[in-house]
């Protein structure tokens, strides 16, 4: 009972302190792309081993006093002052490091994202570790054992299942050099965030067809796609996964010349739209996953397409005009990631 009461009491207190600490931290170490460590942003405190060491020194002191043994006393004094000089060494090992990191990273869900932190040093430093401060991220500690003069890179790993824009918060950088007695630590804010695209989910070709944007909103989009086949045949292109089987050049396939699909003149000039509403699922997430897959496929085959997430055409922010290329792909995927 007592324990639970204590716990319930402790939590608000802890939350209170945490809140104040964060506010203080925000003032002390504001968000920046580049940080240089100095006495302003370095926190240094004894580790558990450091405290145990202090206890040990006291024990040796007691031993010396009880035996009235000057050499043991000298031994304990030496160890005690070592504690202080190690603190200073620890500080100097950590200070004057420069950290630079780009805030934004993007990638698919369940994919590993790397947040690179560039470290520039003017002298040799040892044992530099970094991880995301947020414990919920379960970030592994990345380590550089020897940081010689020049620049180095640490890559923090981030992996998530959820799409969207994730703020990763601060990065804890620490070092326990030289004897593990002290932890020099800084909690840097690079403003890190990750844009996580929905994980691509492959779609069986029958389940969808590219649709052209209807000129008149009243006409059903399915109708317009049916008209594609009536245009003049222009060329054969090698088959790309996801393309409709209806367009497969069966003759060539039967002759064993390879899997080609027929392309038509009209289609080249026509603009195609990927529509969320047309994705074959009830679950929005799965629909987005299909879209993610299609965007990838279409970009790979260098086709031009537009993205329409909102059923209302008036909503400009949710729709992306047809285009192609890497930047377009990223814009589309970002739109998917941020869709809510």
């Amino acid at each position: 009972m007592a324990a639970t009461a204590k716990f319930s009491l402790a939590r608000p207190v802890r939350r209170f302190f945490q809140k104040h600490f964060e506010r203080w931290l925000a003032r002390r170490i504001p968000s920046q792309q580049e940080h240089q460590l100095n006495s302003r942003n370095i926190m240094i405190y004894p580790t558990r081993f450091g405290l145990a060491y202090l206890g040990f020194v006291v024990l040796v002191f007691l031993l010396g006093t009880n035996y009235q043994n000057n050499i043991i006393l000298l031994f304990s004094y030496l160890l005690a002052s070592l504690f202080i000089s190690v603190m200073l060494h620890s500080f100097y090992n950590f200070s004057q490091l420069r950290f630079y990191s780009v805030a934004k990273q993007q990638g698919y869900a369940e994919e590993v994202l790397y947040f690179a932190i560039k470290i520039t040093t003017e002298k040799t430093h040892y044992d530099i570790n970094a991880h995301f401060t947020d414990k919920a991220l379960n970030s592994q500690v990345e380590k550089i054992e020897l940081c010689q003069q020049g620049s180095h890179e640490l890559r923090l790993v981030y992996k998530t299942l959820q799409r969207g824009k994730h703020w990763l918060g601060r990065v804890t950088v620490f070092s326990e050099y030289s004897l593990g007695l002290f932890k020099s630590k800084s909690i840097l804010d690079f403003g890190h965030y990750a844009i996580i695209y929905p994980k691509a989910k492959s779609l069986i070709a029958d389940q969808y067809q590219l649709s052209a944007q209807a000129d008149e909103p009243s006409i059903d989009s399915y109708q317009s796609t049916n008209s594609v086949g009536t245009d003049d045949f222009s060329e054969l292109k090698s088959f790309v996964r996801g393309e409709s089987k209806a367009r497969t050049a069966w003759k060539q396939l039967a002759k064993g010349q390879g899997h080609y699909s027929k392309h038509y003149q009209a289609e080249q000039s026509q603009l195609h739209w990927l529509k969320l509403s047309e994705m074959p699922s009830n679950d929005v997430e799965i629909q987005l996953a299909y879209l993610s897959f299609l965007i990838g496929e279409l970009t790979a085959s260098n086709q031009s397409f537009g993205l329409q997430l909102s059923t209302e055409l008036s909503c400009q922010s949710m729709n992306i005009a047809p285009n192609s290329g890497f930047h377009h792909q990223q814009a589309c995927l970002t739109a998917l990631a941020l869709y809510s």
Partner: protein, 742 residues
């Protein structure tokens, strides 16, 4: 669709589980020492235990050796495993580091049950033998046992830390038993080693030698503060009673048989030192350091008077001190520093009085001094001696009886000789001289290897073997004197000492030129006699002087030294050392250092601390004391910080800027005024591009300037080319300024 849903969820759940599993396994195995580090740690364990090995019993040493050997074996096996692993994956370039990580000390981990049983058995053994070896020793056994066993379970980083702290504690504990300079230096070296192993853990890439260097630097920096702490931090009295060290007694013992001291003289250990300050050191033959007076003789051995009767006479001891100071004999004042002997007797040149701090020192009626406690640490005291003054002038009836008694019929031939002498010489001193003459004239020899005597028979020695050491002669002499009816007694102690004058501090005044100290070693142990002469008191007679005068006048003869080195059979025997001049000089130098160490560091007492304060700061008040402590700590700490700061500053001093860098930075400043800042992360080319976009009119001039700058910075150019390019860059800069002004 539902199917899809499920699957995706399952996948995601798996993924989460996978991540968790990964982190878990990581947490478990995240401690692994590199192979080199593991061996170093092992070495460290061996060395740390070896410094305290003398205090451990044999069975414990055997157990420790066994477990360390086991650990070494496991480590070795671990390497083979590691090797086979590395053979399997030698492909990628990354393997080097992985291998070094894989060859970890996981191998030394033994199943906890086996370990637990082993530990339990060890503890039981320690408890059983606790009574026999004493509390302190059994604590030490426990400490060392756990230190040796801990090596088996290095599972996490905290285990590693614990092992290192245990090692440091073993080092600290070893200082209980020995504190001399050599031992302290060894301990210091091992401290460096232990800390370097710890440092190695954090800077794996550095070589061990550099790590040792770093640790030495660290410790030297800490030494400033440590010395200040040592000087100013108040000495506290013991908080609680601690079990005292029960080490083997060294030096003379309470009883002496013929042949005893000959064994003792094989040892070249230091017994004590004496410092006469600026006074002249007395002649060698006057340096009879009295330790014990042996008055009881049972036919085999001489022993000290029983404690009970001794205490009775102790009261009388105080009186003669004043008598002596009145006689007008010139006093000789000196300081004695006794090495731990784990016995109680002290040394003095009789007759003497304790001056200064006499705490714990008891003067005895027979002019010897006793410490109230067993001497387990170096102890110093000051004495004033009146060398030519007579000892006690009165002899109590009880004492006379004691000094005349001997077991009748124990040595019949000597008794007969004594009766004859008593008849021939009425005067006691003449009788004594007659005995000495016999010893001198007959074919007696002085040797470290006297033949064994049956039942310690003095007859056998005096009439048959005729070869003996000091105790033989002193025993015979005392026996004969007693048998002839004059009181006589045996005295043991040390004779002479080695004068070490290298402590000359190099003072130009020449005042301290005479400064030095006398070191008295165990091989200086000696026994002599005293006879009672009416009106003159106890007179010292040394029968050794008639068989080997050199021993009494200047110390050991070369023949004896040779004999000693043969007996000891060690490479660095005193004899050999004394023959090599530079080695001997080195030995004396070290002895002088050790003396200063013993005097100032080991013997730094509360009183000395107080005197030091008084010298420096005048009369002491408690608030002043506190202030001194605080201020000196703050000063030394800030000194340390300043020192480190300067050290780090000089390393990170920015390189001087080159001409082109200055020029480029000037143009940067100009542009910044225009509202165009170059972020430090942006390259020169990128920035030029941005300038082109923002201010097209600047485009050409600035791009040229940037290009020149880039070439100057990154291309390898000859000095000639560099100058040319520098000139063009200056022109470009002028252009740039002109355009900017427009």
């Amino acid at each position: 669709m539902i199917f899809f849903n499920n699957k995706s969820k399952k996948v995601s759940a798996d993924a989460v589980g996978g991540v968790k599993m990964q982190t878990k396994s990581k947490a478990k195995s995240n401690f692994d020492l590199s192979r080199k580090n593991a061996w170093l740690l092992w070495l460290c364990q061996c060395l740390n235990i070896s410094v305290i090995a003398l205090e451990l019993s044999t069975w414990m040493l055997a157990i420790i050796a066994l477990s360390l050997a086991w650990q070494a074996l496991l480590l070795h096996q671990g390497r083979e495993k590691g090797n086979s692993l590395s053979k399997n994956k030698t492909v990628s370039g990354h393997t080097h580091r992985q291998n070094s990580r894989q060859n970890s000390r996981q191998g030394t981990n033994v199943s906890p049950i086996v370990l637990g049983i082993f530990a339990l058995l060890g503890c039981v053994a320690i408890v059983i033998t606790a009574k026999e070896v004493g509390i302190l020793a059994s604590m030490l056994h426990l400490l060392c046992f756990s230190y040796a066993l801990k090596g088996f379970e290095l599972r996490s980083r905290s285990d590693f830390y614990q092992l290192l702290l245990l090692g440091l504690f073993v080092l600290a504990a070893s200082l209980i038993f020995r504190q001399d300079l050599a031992f302290s230096l060894i301990t210091f070296a091992l401290l460096v080693l232990t800390l370097a192993v710890l440092l190695q853990f954090f800077s794996f890439e550095k070589t061990f030698v550099t790590n040792i260097k770093v640790v030495v630097i660290l410790l030297c920096q800490s030494a400033i503060l440590a010395i200040v702490l040592f000087l100013v931090f108040p000495r506290l009295s013991p908080f609680w009673q601690v079990p005292l060290a029960k080490s083997a007694e060294t030096g003379l013992s309470d009883t002496v048989k013929p042949g005893d001291i000959a064994n003792l003289t094989r040892s070249t250990k230091l017994a004590f030192r004496a410092d006469f300050g600026q006074q002249k050191v007395p002649n060698y033959s006057q340096l009879y350091w009295r330790a014990m007076v042996l008055e009881e003789y049972d036919g085999r051995q001489w022993s000290r008077q029983h404690k009970f009767t001794r205490n009775k006479t102790a009261a009388a001891a105080k009186n003669f001190s004043f008598d002596n100071s009145a006689t007008g004999v010139s006093p000789l004042s000196y300081q004695v520093l006794v090495e731990p002997s784990f016995q109680k007797y002290l040394f003095a040149l009789a007759p003497s009085v304790v001056t200064g701090d006499a705490k714990g020192i008891q003067a005895q009626a027979d002019h010897t001094f006793n410490n109230s406690k067993i001497i387990s640490q170096a102890k110093s005291y000051r004495l004033t001696s009146y060398l030519t003054a007579p000892l006690t002038l009165e002899l109590t009836k009880q004492s006379r009886q004691l000094n005349l008694s001997y077991p009748q019929g124990s040595n019949p031939r000597l008794e007969q000789l004594a009766l004859q002498l008593q008849h021939n010489y009425v005067d006691v001193q003449a009788r004594a001289q007659a005995v000495l003459n016999i010893i001198n004239k007959e074919n007696y020899s002085y040797t470290l290897q006297p033949p064994l005597l049956k039942n310690n028979s003095l007859d056998q020695f005096f009439f048959d073997t005729q070869a003996g050491f000091c105790v033989h002669y002193a025993s015979v002499f005392t026996f004969v004197m007693r048998a002839s009816g004059s009181p006589a007694r045996m005295v043991t102690g040390y004779l002479g000492g080695e004068y070490n004058g290298v402590t000359n501090t190099g003072d130009n005044t020449g005042k301290l030129a005479n400064k030095g100290h006398l070191s008295i070693y165990q091989y200086d142990a000696h026994a002599w006699s005293e006879i009672w002469v009416e009106g003159k008191g106890w007179l010292r007679i040394d029968p050794t002087s008639s068989v080997d005068p050199e021993r009494v006048n200047s110390g050991w003869s070369t023949q004896l030294l040779q004999q000693q080195s043969e007996l000891n059979n060690d490479l660095f025997s005193l004899y050999r050392m004394k023959n090599i001049a530079w080695l001997n000089a080195l030995r004396l130098q070290f002895d002088a250092l050790d003396y200063q160490w013993t005097r100032w560091v080991i013997g730094f007492t509360t009183k000395q601390q107080y005197d030091l304060f008084k010298n420096w700061f005048g009369q002491m008040v408690s608030w002043k004391l506190a202030l001194i402590i605080a201020v000196s700590l703050v000063i030394s700490m800030s000194m340390l910080m300043l020192f480190l700061h300067l050290l780090n500053r000089s390393k990170t001093k920015p390189q001087s800027l080159t001409k082109w860098q200055i020029l480029y930075q000037k143009s940067m400043a100009k542009l910044a005024k225009q509202g165009m800042d170059k972020p430090s992360s942006m390259t020169v080319n990128d920035f030029a591009k941005e300038v082109r976009q923002q201010c097209p009119e600047l485009a050409i001039v600035f791009t040229r300037l940037s290009a020149s700058y880039n070439r100057l910075c990154y291309q390898t150019l000859s000095t000639n080319e560099q100058e040319k390019l520098m000139l063009t860059m200056q022109q470009q800069y002028q252009h740039f300024i002109q355009v900017l002004k427009k």
